[in-house]
């Protein structure tokens, strides 16, 4: 029986196979590390504004009267009645005296009782900057509840993280 599709391996076929295997390996090696990628252009720095913070309640808690408590089932008799909804958190960032970012972070959750979160990247030239950050977490207060202003020198490629420390109640620069 003649098999015309199969043929003996000639040396040229071995060479061609070797070349094709080499080409395959070369392709893998090349695109596993080339071309190089630069995320941030030279001479730039990055400011990351990121916090997760629960705003103040939109209304005050109310003390229940004994009569009101009596109407409730025994396991529900909490003396304070608090609204679940939280204030949205408003944040503003000024860079060298100019408003660079403003955001109203709504509270999460169906009942708007969760934390408000913000994540924002701001690409800036690596240089000295005057940075002012304002945060408001209470709809019932006037103006911003937290402020921080600083003059910072950012190096090329540096990442400055602006966060909010709820325990200390202050805006942090890391």
């Amino acid at each position: 029986m003649t098999m015309l599709s199969s043929k003996p391996f000639a040396w040229i076929a071995w060479v061609a196979q070797g070349l094709l295997y080499a080409l395959f390996a070369l392709g893998i090696a090349t695109f596993s590390s080339w071309p190089h990628y630069r995320q941030l252009p030279a001479g730039q720095a990055l400011i990351k504004l990121s916090f997760t913070h629960t705003g103040k309640r939109v209304a005050d808690c109310v003390q229940r009267t004994p009569a009101e408590l009596a109407k409730l089932s025994p396991n529900m008799r909490a003396p304070l009645q608090c609204p679940r909804e939280r204030s949205p958190v408003i944040v503003e960032v000024d860079l060298d005296g100019t408003l660079a970012y403003r955001h109203v972070a709504e509270p999460s959750g169906l009942s708007r009782d969760g934390a408000s979160t913000v994540y924002r990247r701001l690409q800036v030239p690596a240089d000295q900057h005057r940075l002012a950050v304002r945060l408001k977490d209470n709809t019932r207060s006037a103006g911003f509840d937290y402020n921080r202003t600083e003059t910072l020198t950012l190096k090329p490629g540096q990442i400055l993280v602006i966060d909010f420390d709820a325990e200390k109640g202050q805006i942090t620069f890391i």
Partner: protein, 513 residues
Amino acid sequence: MMSFLDATRNGGLLVYRRLEQLFDKPFDAALNPWRHLGALGFLFFWIIAVSGVYLYIVLDTSASGAYRSIDWLTHQQWYLGGVLRSLHRYAADAFIVVTLLHVLREFLLGHYSGFCRFSWLTGVPLLWFMYISGIEGFWLNWDSLGQFSAVATTEWLDSLGIFATPMTRNFLGNAAVNDRLFSLLVFIHIGVPLLLLFGLWFHIQRISHAGVFPPRPLALGTFASLLILALAVPVVSQAPADLAVVPGPLPLDWFYLFPHPLMYATSPGSVWALVVTATLLLFLLPFLPRPRGYAAQPIAQVHPSDCNGCRRCFDDCPYAAITMIPHPNGRMQLAEVIPDLCASCGICAGSCPSATPFRSVSDLVTGIDMPQLPIGALRQALQDQLDTLQGDNRIVVFGCDQGARMDTLAGKNVATISLICTGMLPPSFIEYALRYGAAGVLLTGCRPDGCAFRLGSRWTEERLHGTREPHLRASVDRLRICIAWADRGEEKTLHNALEDFRNRIAAHDHALI
């Protein structure tokens, strides 16, 4: 829309076939990597798994120790750990390449609907698993490349807005990355590939005799090329991760990490749109309406009175479309066709022991048959063609509707019979043709491992070589049989093969005189 899709597919298939045939020359069809993409994917998976086991043993899974332990492996133990690390990475890259080519090939061949729908649909989530485990693998090294990928990925995930606390905060500063987080990352990097393996098992469930390992020479050649690459260009770590600094120019692995630059060049939303659209399209493809004029082919039909329950069709069906049930006569088994899985290829008819043209019954009925081309009609067609052949060196060519076209071969001393798949031909038909007037029989069809129905060419060869039932009887003169596999588009090759064969037959007959 469908006509556009069909035209694109057909055009792409032509280009792909040319490329495939180009590789047939140095590799031969049986070892052609383009015909073993799925099996190569399995090979790369096992290389990744085996090298990964060693890397896991030596990896310090703490946030501070991961980089140090991998760096030690790369430089102090370069001959083992370093090579395995490089193999792990390069095999992962190759895994993506062959898998995407596998998807493209199966799409071009139309293997996404009908009897292939299950394999197609179960393959789509595997692409996600591959990318999840691959991308996340870069993080474990915790160098600047891992840092970049981790931050970019979490920023992308956070853009969905579904996490109560943004995932990016896990990578906000060096202090935020702790050992607990790293243990979770290791767990994901082991767990997702296990899911992938489980998914692969599902993926090949409806395929019998699935090629889960490439032919040995191809496997050795592929492994050797990766090993040489690992030795010549070892994978090394970048600078340790420092979340206070944006990494400088990075040697990005574009096979896995291309979504990150794409996201920074466009937006997280556009990358989500791209991947979700691609995933949906892949999922919806099997459910799109068939092209106008498409007619579903009848499936194989079992004739209980002629089925002796021998299980040959059960063994030979490429798509596990045949199951065995108790025969109504209560003494043996009976083949039963699962309609949704039947590819209508007729390979089962070619395997049936009752499909022999030498049976004296006037109405030749087999145990399992194709309604569109019953074995009885095939015998009649062969007989009619043999009766009309004239001249010396009469040749009968059996081919298939999927391989090279045979229209131009027919002549006064050449009879051509096109089957659904060459694997449909019972070997006894060759003996029948030779006994009743043919000087030679030429078999053609798709090249091995390129068979449109996967196993037709392979089963035909094995039946003719006597290693598979039903086999060609030993008394049949092998010099009068020629196999010339030729894909669609290789009509000239087939024509030349026929001329060669005819000359050889003439020389053989002349020598006998």
